[in-house]
């Protein structure tokens, strides 16, 4: 035990005493934050894009402007709805009704904020501002020749005291039997203004066609606006009227995040083990270690040391993530973040995560160690690890579909395949699996882990004691296979 402890301790300290470890430990959450928040911050920091609309008929122009207003209102409502679902679900319906009753987006947000101030003061403080992506400016010219300098940035227009070039111009002309839309912009990648204008003009054409056939335009619009009231329910819930909310989806979100963390942790620490054994093999340190510890003790020590590194990673990330989630949950005790915090601290999910990590880590870690012990260089190791890495990539491909339908027969069967079990069972954990559906794959997994550990220990022994290589080991196995039938 002492030898195992000392080997584990050295491997642990070798990693955690390196500044690179703490750098990567800190950069991972930062990277996560950047990936999540950067698009939001970027979209908020960008000024609204100025558009000019010029049409032969003022009614057409007004219809397109109205379409932009309506789209902004719909977007703003979605933003508000998502925020309310996450931060103040208790006041969601009332605040949305207030928003809908208001004359415009700004007034709608003000009305919703007033509701929140009374019902959920903490949420009211963090309520987002309505973001307007496009602003319609008075057209400085009526044709493209006049508009071109504004579109190319040679001239600017004033909007709310700010000078800006035109982002795009929508020119609408009446043709014989229809409408022609010409969208001009130096930006070739944002199709939204063209699509919005196109949809508005399509509505105009349809209304005109219906009117020509004697159907009232307002009546046609009312019919177009008809939509069913949609609610989703979970039959497993006791309350018959309890619709599914974002909070109900929190455990699934937590589970898939945990599955990704699990995958990256297993892959990361298995690579650490590989690098470590390669260093010892190429530096001939193993011979020195072997005079004090058996190959099995070295193998277990290395696995334990790197497991301790993982525990440090999970500890720091868990503390950080848990603190953030609890902070967010404290601000909105009935919101999505509270649901996520609750799910992240759910003993079932944590237990599943730990079981999956231990099994996945032992399985892949032992495999990487064994293969590493047969190599002298990272290039040799990469050749041998090709098939293992291919197997490790499969769960990443399956996680998304498994999240969508965790009880699909394919995933029920795939969960029994040990290399996939840790990742698939993690993502399927909140789906209400039966005890047999949980126990079966896990029993199979731990049997496979035992078998892999046994085989890895033998390969590791051959690699470090006999300096076996992949080729010599293959020859030895083939030779034994040939000799076996000859034995009496």
């Amino acid at each position: 035990m002492r030898e195992i402890f000392l080997i584990a301790r050295r491997d642990y300290l070798a990693v955690v005493s390196a500044w690179g470890f703490w750098l990567s430990l800190c950069t991972a959450p930062l990277l996560f934050a950047v990936v999540v928040f950067a698009p939001i911050l970027l979209s908020r920091s960008e000024p609204a894009r100025a558009l000019a609309i010029a049409a032969d008929r003022p009614a057409d122009e007004a219809a397109v402007i109205a379409a932009f207003d309506q789209a902004d209102r719909v977007n703003a409502r979605e933003t508000l709805n998502a925020f309310l679902a996450a931060a103040a679900p208790g006041a969601q319906a009332e605040a949305l009704a207030a928003f809908d009753a208001a004359a415009n987006t700004q007034q709608g947000f003000a009305a919703a904020r007033a509701i929140l101030a009374a019902r959920a003061p903490a949420a009211a403080q963090s309520m987002p501002q309505p973001q307007q992506r496009y602003v319609i400016a008075p057209a400085p010219a009526r044709d493209i020749d006049g508009l071109r300098p504004y579109l190319l940035g040679e001239r600017q227009i004033a909007i709310a005291g700010r000078q800006t070039p035109l982002f795009g111009a929508v020119l609408i002309t009446r043709t014989e039997g229809g409408l022609r839309l010409a969208y001009w912009s130096a930006n070739l990648t944002d199709p939204t203004p063209r699509r919005r204008a196109e949809r508005a003009l399509t509505d105009i054409l349809r209304s005109e066609a219906l009117a020509a056939r004697g159907v009232d335009a307002q009546e046609a619009a009312r019919i177009d606006a008809l939509a069913p009231q949609v609610e989703q329910f979970d039959p497993r819930r006791a309350q018959r009227d309890g619709a599914v909310t974002m909070r109900d989806r929190a455990p699934y979100i937590v589970a898939i995040v945990m599955a990704f963390v699990l995958w990256s942790a297993v892959f990361g620490v298995a690579n650490m083990l590989l690098t470590s054994v390669l260093e010892e093999k190429s530096n001939k340190i193993l011979d020195t270690l072997l005079t004090s510890a058996s190959p099995l003790q070295i193998l277990i020590g290395k696995l334990a040391g790197t497991a301790a590194v993982s525990a440090t990673l999970f500890g720091v990330w868990g503390l950080l993530g848990g603190s953030l989630a609890r902070f967010a949950a404290g601000r909105a005790p009935d919101g999505l973040m509270a649901g996520i915090a609750g799910a992240a601290l759910d003993p079932t999910l944590i237990g599943t995560f730990l079981a999956c990590f231990v099994a996945g880590y032992l399985m892949y870690g032992a495999l990487f160690l064994a293969l590493g012990s047969l190599c002298e260089t990272i290039q040799e190791a990469q050749t041998l690890l090709g098939p293992v890495i291919f197997v490790l990539i499969i769960p990443i491909i399956l996680l998304g579909p498994a999240f969508d339908n965790p009880k699909a027969p394919f995933f029920a069967y795939a969960s029994w395949v040990p290399p996939l079990t840790p990742f698939l069972m993690m993502v399927r954990a909140p789906a209400g699996l039966s005890p047999a559906e949980i126990a079966g794959p896990f029993v199979m997994l731990f049997i496979a882990v035992g078998f892999i550990l046994w085989g890895a220990a033998r390969v590791f022994h051959a690699g470090v004691v006999d300096n076996a290589t992949a080729a010599s080991l293959r020859n030895r196995i083939l030779r034994r296979a040939e000799q076996r039938p000859a034995q009496p």
Partner: protein, 311 residues
């Protein structure tokens, strides 16, 4: 004197090939024993079996009279031929770590590491990472790590390879110091001069089998003493001495103006007899030098054509 470690009919097969074949020898406390042999003779395999890294295919290793087990293994020190340590560890941490693996308490191991580093002039480098030290210094640190736990027997595999003459002398001093303090030393080398200088006993092996075991003086004693003679011009000394009943052989001459001859001094008065015969024959003798046989000569004589590695 009882043996610290003994190889008994030690055998190691790799496939059908015997790398070590029925090898038996022993090493004693306070004595320096050299395992000599050409490259590929099976020296490293033998030492790896002796320190318990490699399980033998046959035979056994006895440590203080009992089969070598883990506790006995802890009383051995080992410096492998291809040396290396964790490059990111400090000199002090590396020695401490390996000493603790050998069973030393953490505090004692640290104190011992500091003392050894100080004693061998590496005190100022104790906190430096090994990757920042010179190759010679790093090798010295590994050697100190091998002896930090004060082993009963230290086994060095080619301890002088890759060292400059100054560091070779340092290693020799350390080896002699261990033996002086009562520890046993067993080391392998294919450089006969080292063995001749510091070994009390030697084991010559070729193709995994023992060719000789005994004191250096015994190995040298097995060879006749010789003398080297040189004559001027094309003078045929062999013919001149043949008439006096003395047989000599011709050696390669150092230059075209001379011929060189070798003579076995197989009787105590042989030198005097040859000189008298030369004077009587009027031989143009320019050199008469009695030559002491070297361990290299003994090795060639004892191992002979078995020294060549198998094709």
């Amino acid at each position: 004197m009882s043996a610290l470690i003994a190889a008994e009919r030690l055998t190691k097969f790799y496939g059908a090939r015997a790398a070590v074949d029925q090898l038996s020898f022993s090493a004693e406390p306070g004595r320096i024993c050299g395992v000599l042999g050409p490259n590929g003779a099976g020296k490293s395999t033998t030492l790896r079996m002796l320190v318990g890294i490699l399980p033998p295919s046959g035979g056994q290793v006895l440590f203080k009279g009992a089969p070598l087990r883990r506790d006995g293994q802890k009383r051995l020190g080992y410096l492998p031929e291809e040396r290396g340590l964790y490059r990111n560890m400090t000199a002090r941490a590396a020695i401490t770590h390996l000493a603790r693996l050998k069973g030393m308490h953490a505090v004692d191991a640290r104190k011992r590491a500091d003392a050894l580093l100080e004693e061998h002039g590496l005190g100022p480098y104790r906190g430096k990472k090994l990757k920042t030290l010179s190759k010679g210094m790093a090798q010295k640190v590994q050697l100190l790590a091998a002896i930090a736990h004060k082993p009963d027997l230290i086994v060095f595999d080619e301890p002088f390879s890759g060292l400059d003459p100054v560091n070779q002398r340092t290693v020799e001093d350390i080896i002699r110091g261990i033996a002086r303090d009562g520890g046993g030393v067993l080391f392998s080398t294919h450089v006969m001069e080292h063995a001749e200088r510091i070994c009390d006993r030697i084991v010559l092996i070729a193709h995994g089998a023992k060719a000789f075991e005994g004191a250096v003086s015994e190995a040298l004693g097995a060879l006749p003493r010789t003398a080297i003679l040189e004559t001027e011009g094309a003078y045929d000394l062999r013919a001149a001495l043949a008439s006096a009943g003395i047989a000599i052989s011709e050696d390669r001459a150092p230059d075209p103006a001379h011929r060189r001859w070798r003579l076995d001094l197989d009787t105590p008065d042989m030198g005097r007899r040859v000189l008298a015969a030369c004077v009587q024959a009027g031989a143009p003798l320019t050199l008469f030098e009695p030559a002491r046989p070297t361990l290299h000569d003994a090795f060639v004589a004892l191992v002979g054509d078995r020294a060549a590695p198998p094709a």
